[in-house]
């Protein structure tokens, strides 16, 4: 394959990957964040005690997380069609990607919030804070560095997941690697795709690390 052609294919696939990861990442995190907060604060004796609902949501989250992504993609095709009007293409692929992101990010948010010293919640209660004020003024700001790390981890996983949505014609870098590199025996395409993916993941990770560090005031290094 000519370098020019490879570049064109790569450029297009890269655009599709960024589009899928970007939109699914934003939507999935926006939905996952409140679910994660709820999971972390709705146990017995916590801020919004609702142990039964907590357990049910926990079960759903676990179920969603244990479904292999490729099965999730085909299993929800009817829902995908309902949302986007089609079951194939990049936009259609965003639906299962978003659905996979929600429970993944929610669990990360939950653990980030559970990490916060219970003494801070007690101090805020002693100041007369409402449960919502505690979430907004104490939990979220204190968890911010961990939340940024969680978002980074989610985006990296999404880049991996996005390689699988070639199955529904989602396109993207992974799909390029499979169709050209594997099915058409073009190792140079495969290698290039892998290298581009490595660079992409590295970039996301180091940007995430840097932002998280900027917000982290827990040690003297700042």
């Amino acid at each position: 394959m000519s370098a020019e052609m490879l570049f064109t294919l790569l450029w297009k696939a890269m655009g599709q990957t960024l589009q899928m990861v970007g939109i699914a990442g934003v939507l999935g995190s926006l939905i996952g964040l409140p679910i994660g907060i709820f999971l972390a604060t709705s146990g017995r004796g916590e801020l919004f005690p609702a142990p039964t609902v907590n357990r049910i949501i926990g079960l759903i989250v676990n179920a969603a997380r244990s479904t292999p992504f490729i099965i999730l993609v085909v299993a929800i095709i009817p829902f995908t069609r309902l949302v986007t009007g089609t079951s194939i293409g990049t936009y259609a692929a965003i639906v299962p990607l978003t659905i996979a992101t929600v429970p993944f990010f929610a669990r990360l948010v939950e653990s980030a919030i559970r990490e916060i010293d219970k003494g801070l919640i007690e101090a805020a209660r002693a100041m007369g804070a409402t449960p919502f004020q505690i979430v907004w003024k104490v939990l979220l700001p204190e968890a911010r560095p961990s939340l940024i790390m969680a978002l980074t981890m989610t985006l990296v996983s999404l880049i991996g997941y996005s390689a699988m949505v070639g199955a529904v014609g989602g396109g993207g870098l992974g799909d390029l690697g499979i169709r050209y590199g594997y099915q058409r025996f073009m190792p140079d395409v495969m290698l290039t795709v892998v290298v581009v993916l490595i660079v992409l993941v590295q970039a996301v990770q180091s940007i995430g690390d840097r932002i998280a560090r900027r917000f982290d005031r827990r040690s003297r290094k700042n």
Binding site: A126, M127, G128, P141, F215
Partner: protein, 346 residues
Amino acid sequence: MVAFEAVTKQFGGRGGKPGFTALDGVDFAVPRGAITGIIGRSGAGKSTMIRLVNGLEKASSGRVVVDGVEVGGLSETDLRGLRRQVGMIFQHFNLLSSRTAFDNVALPLEIAGMDARAIRDKVGPLLDLVGLGDKANSYPAELSGGQKQRVGIARALATDPKLLLSDEATSALDPETTQSILQLLKRINGELGLTVLLITHEMEVVKTIATDVAVIDRGRIVEAGRTFDIFTLPQHDTTKALLSSSLGVKLPEWVRSGLQPQPLSGGRVMVRLVFFGETAFQPLTARLVSEIGTDVNIMAGTIDEIAGEPYGSLVVSYPSDAAVLERAARFYAETGLTTEVLGYVG
């Protein structure tokens, strides 16, 4: 200011099973404008007691009354209102790591819905009051333990509370820093007329600043009163045990282990003499020796200050024969010395 009336508190015990009893019929009153200490070993129930005052825990039975209002009967909304009038400081400071000293002090004001300008006017003077005017923009990680507790105190005072609760506020600090924090609390108590209720396991803390004290053991108040009285004449074993290390009257192990409850013929009696008020300034030891004879042995002793009053304690031993004991008794009656027989040795 705060009254505990027959308060009990049980934890756990769901489904008919009895739980752990943290407080067992506590009656206690905290006088307004004073610094009151509750002292006890860990697990004695003191943390539970202080948490009942601002409703962080609810009593299982009995009443906790703060400034005329029964805490247990308040709705969540009213409880939040009460909490804004009761400041609290903590052993581990509980400052938000993501906020500067200034913003930590501002937090209770934000929670109370105060606007940014009013908050600015309020926080600066508070940081000055606790001696951290130059640390407004420092994050907790950049402050020492003592400085963090000062931020904690400024934060607790932000909403102009009438009552300050201190939960082991100096237990994580070194002795020198502890003293400076205690002096700050004392100053605040004096300047702002704020009632302070503190819990601690350190006698040193109570001795330094509390005018009143309650001793708690296994969920019960075993002794309460003026700090000076409790410290000079402890009645309960728990108090004595807590005191012995702090007042320097701890006897060497080899002496203590040899103590017998009954006199031994030809043996000696071990007596603790307590000097305070009038007797603290008189040369009574010399007179004791001349009254009883020269065979008086000093085993341990201390001179100290409790809640600002001079106090001395001396452990002596002398022969336990009838004639000596009678002379000693006459001498004690004459001088008004307070004594306590610790035991007898051979």
